[in-house]
């Protein structure tokens, strides 16, 4: 079975201090703030990616174990899906 793919929705965004990112989808009335590694994941989601693909790409940037990275990616995607920043296909 193929894995779900995630992609961000059209949005406007600004970098905030300390690596945070403020993002507002065109269809939303309020912005969402991303912090930690979430802005990096958001940047990668300009194209469709599966969780495995995201983990593989992030492993090249971070020294954490694949399990830790996968946990972080799933948490970030759950939060982004709930706030309608990303869509799943």
């Amino acid at each position: 079975m193929s894995q779900a793919e995630y992609r961000r929705v059209p949005a406007v965004e600004r970098e905030l201090a300390y690596g945070r990112r403020l993002i507002q989808p065109l269809s939303a009335s309020t912005p969402t703030q991303l912090a930690g590694s979430a802005p990096v994941i958001w940047d990668l989601l300009h194209e469709h990616h599966t969780v495995d693909a995201l983990v593989a790409m992030l492993q090249q940037q971070f020294s954490d174990s694949p399990e830790v990275i996968a946990h972080g990616v799933r948490s970030a995607l759950t939060a982004m899906t709930q706030t309608a920043l990303v869509v799943v296909s």
Binding site: P10, L22, L26
Partner: protein, 350 residues
Amino acid sequence: MISAAQIARNVAALGFGNSRIAPIDSAMNDEVIDELRTQRVEGVAVSGVLDGSIEADAEFVERIIQRHDETMAQTLRVEIAAVRASEILAAAGISHRLLKGASLAHTIARNPSERSFRDVDVLVRGDSIDGAIDLFESKGAVRLHRQLRPGFDARFGKSVTMLLDDIEVDVHRLLCPGPFGVRMRPNELFFIDSTFELAGEQIPTLDPTDHLVHACYHAALGSAEPALVNLRDIALLAHGPFDEERFEDTIDRWRARAVIQRAVRLVERTISVELPEVLGRYRYTQVDKTERGWIDLYTVDDPRGRFAALAPATFHALRPIDRPAFARAVGFPDGVPPATRVRSILYRRK
């Protein structure tokens, strides 16, 4: 002690030779933060505290970052309105250019987070403005001031202010009102296609040369004391790549040397940024008495007083054939009984 106003001016000039600002006195934190926000350079200040070019205490850093977060949230709302306005016009095939705000944030600011904005400015051709207004109204936008007389917007108006999703959208025909507006040739701003990407869309805008022309007009003719962000825009554009020959040619053909002179002097006197010679030479350019008088009219800060002050100069700058219609619209606008209008004019003269 250095004043809050001077600190804001130094912040507006960050990146242009001055790489550090004197430490901010803790007792002035409130005053400085308010001034930075008023002058719309708080984003530059945040960059400054983060890269060490501004020294301030922890309270200042925390508060300026919090204020900037709030400003960016509001800026994103406006930016979404800009995307929507552009989409509405593009879908109807109306050629347009997004001006200032979002355009400059994404094309000339060091980082879009350094350039906040409060409204949307979009330029359309004069023969499209009535269609654009009707279109925006059909999408729920509300016009804030009614047209003086039918046809006034397309023939004499500078812009029409509308509310779209509670965000102010100024639909421009010209870059400025009054006699200098009469002299400009706004359709030339559609000769060059330039775009920037926003939310995955290609948004039409001016190229850097025309942005520089507009930034000078806005700073010189927009108010008596332009916000520092507008002077920083000129400095950023002037020090970036632009077509010097076309800039000079435009200013000559639009007979706007007095406008550029005021803009250059404002930048150099207020934020002490030296501009490239192509602009610097306007500092002492010959400006005739009439144009100097016109410049003074633009510095009336009350918008109604400013319109009244500019009307006679506009009348004289117009072609004789256009003057009767302009005079009729300004003197006796639709919906105002002539007797009331006469009383109002007589009262103003007392």
